[in-house]
């Protein structure tokens, strides 16, 4: 069984606007018959038990895109994907709104599941974005602290 695997160019975007997760996923499967698995992950803004008014996402323009592209490239080297899309928003995001999208397409499910999991783990620890919380009681926002569990999640992929 010899199958020519064409190089995949990942779609990477950092934007203020919202995204359409279903439409982004469809782009990776439309018009092709070799895609057997499509995994979409959407990260949403939580209201933190009603306390949160909004998250403000600061990013490093230029490096944010570059780092996401580097991580997408690593995922493509590691798994036989047929398509990969990463969209990350910045600016003010309210509870219930979407923050981040990863879509991985592959012939088989394991690669699509693992690649999207890997991308989210590394995106959280390596992509230059920072969250600030604005609370409903009007208190001035405070920066969200990095969680050690996120680093542990990313380390799982190095130990393998």
């Amino acid at each position: 069984m010899t199958q020519q695997i064409l190089p995949v160019t990942p779609v990477v975007r950092v934007q203020l606007e919202d995204f359409d997760a279903a439409a982004e996923a469809r782009i990776l499967s439309d018009g092709r018959t070799d895609v057997g698995a499509l995994v979409s992950f959407v990260g949403l803004c939580r209201d933190e038990a009603g306390r949160l008014d909004a998250l403000e996402l600061e990013h490093y323009p230029g490096m944010a895109e570059a780092e996401l592209r580097r991580l997408a490239g690593e995922a493509l080297e590691r798994w036989p994907l047929t398509g990969l899309t990463v969209v990350h928003r910045h600016g003010k995001i309210r509870p219930g709104e979407q923050i981040v999208l990863v879509v991985a397409a592959s012939s088989h499910r394991r690669a699509a599941f693992e690649a999207s999991d890997f991308l989210m783990d590394f995106l959280k620890t390596k992509a230059p974005f920072w969250k600030k919380e604005h609370l409903k009681d009007g208190a001035d926002g405070s920066w969200v602290n990095a969680r050690s569990v996120d680093q542990k999640d990313a380390d799982r992929w190095v130990e393998q």
């Binding site: 620890t125 602290n145 990095a146």
Partner: protein
């Protein structure tokens, strides 16, 4: 060299970015941090906890002991919290 600050580091330093001519004695990221810290207390406070300080040279992550080399841009920021 252009120096950019983000998130809590930006707030503590009190500016988004600045451009500086660096003395030849400054060869690593840590040298630059020491140099700025000696100059003003706002830098000293912003860079006090090196464990939670991250740096990028020309938009790539580096360790704090990395040589500045021919980089044109350095960015200093806290651990990232995107996603």
């Amino acid at each position: 060299m252009q120096i950019k600050y983000f998130a809590s580091i930006r707030e503590r330093v009190g500016r988004n970015d600045e451009t500086r001519e660096l003395p030849r004695s400054i060869t690593t990221v840590a040298d630059l941090l020491d140099h700025l810290s000696a100059e003003d207390e706002s830098y000293a406070i912003a860079f006090a906890d090196r464990e939670t300080l991250r740096a990028a040279l020309d938009q790539e992550h580096v360790e704090l002991d990395a040589p500045l080399g021919a980089a044109r841009e350095i960015a200093l920021f806290p651990p990232m919290t995107g996603g």
